[in-house]
Symmetry: C2
Subunit: 231 residues, 2 copies
Amino acid sequence: AGYDPREFPIVLTTVDSVLFTYHEDRLKVLLVQRANHPQAGRWALPGGYIDQDRDATLEDTAHRVLASKTGVVPPYIEQLGSFGGAGRDPRGWSVTIAYTALIPFQACLTHIESVTDTQWFDVARLNELELGFDHEAIIDAGRERFRQKALYSLVPAHALQEPFSLADLRRVHELLIGMTLSRKSFIRRVEESGALIETGDEAPSGRGRPSKLYRRSPHLDDYRFIRNIGK
Amino acid sequence: AGYDPREFPIVLTTVDSVLFTYHEDRLKVLLVQRANHPQAGRWALPGGYIDQDRDATLEDTAHRVLASKTGVVPPYIEQLGSFGGAGRDPRGWSVTIAYTALIPFQACLTHIESVTDTQWFDVARLNELELGFDHEAIIDAGRERFRQKALYSLVPAHALQEPFSLADLRRVHELLIGMTLSRKSFIRRVEESGALIETGDEAPSGRGRPSKLYRRSPHLDDYRFIRNIGK
């Protein structure tokens, strides 16, 4: 015999994702306007229930939902943490397993322009929105995760379309960390890391010399700085 | 209208905890022998369903289950991650939100000695057991989390009864990290950290001078070494 879980009140279990990108000098997060009860009309994280026929793992659920909203699977995703409780959803006790991810803006531009319920929002201006559920706290946790990644890795490069300049990458790091970084020191740290590869091409830059262009190396996700990049 | 989650197949959602302690020169993990289907008789992590009347948060569930198995709430606990999938439990698609925690052996000695289904196991000898579900992988994730904590913090002190010697704490760190640490360097790093407090008492040590005894400072959980403790 033993436990039959169907004898217990159901816990609503969902998967939500905090997807960031970089566009027009801003860090942006993807939000979806809720069509249904509860909190219809509010902007919330892309997420949904587990589809037991199609999803073999929690990451499959995150991939499926993000692909349905952006047209593609993001190049970088990691589990952020689970948020649960009696009070976070009016329908009852609920748990969401949250992922956080990065994508180049251009990778999903066409898809997102084709719909009205899915948009990028400047993370510095989220206070102008009333977000659904506890999603503001989940977005904050995602920002903190990538703040750490920006200090100790070059994973933020996944927010940029290849090839990219180190000026753009440094700007992504600055937005995530919340402080200005020295240009020379950033270039030196990137070159020492081997986590990015020079393409050999250059792009015109506003002033002076053209910028070297880079792409991600296969080791990018595993590379970790001993000293944080702000020091 | 909108989604009614009761129309969807139920996802089994549980909370499991990887609780470690230090005893007789060994790192140990708490396991509970399963009484019920599925996998009755196997040793597995202490865990269970969310009790919607008693638990306001996921951490409440972890605390409640651990207190029922050890008699006390552990002094250190953090969320480890969620493990989910179609194949991990024969009853169907399931998710467990895993926590990992530390407790002094003495804190729960009386309670655990009074029951037969709950025991400490040497983590170096878990290969002799056939564990339930994917709990071996969850224990590995808990060890890796505390390996990082042992390199960059003194959080492992939560596995020791106060007051404790630095020889014992160093041994806990060595077991978690998997390498020998220099005695002098460890003492210096602890003293520089301010994360532990000398009690002023001493305990006899095997050879030579008695050992100074320490307790945890209120800043212990927040203290982080810039350079890892093995260097």
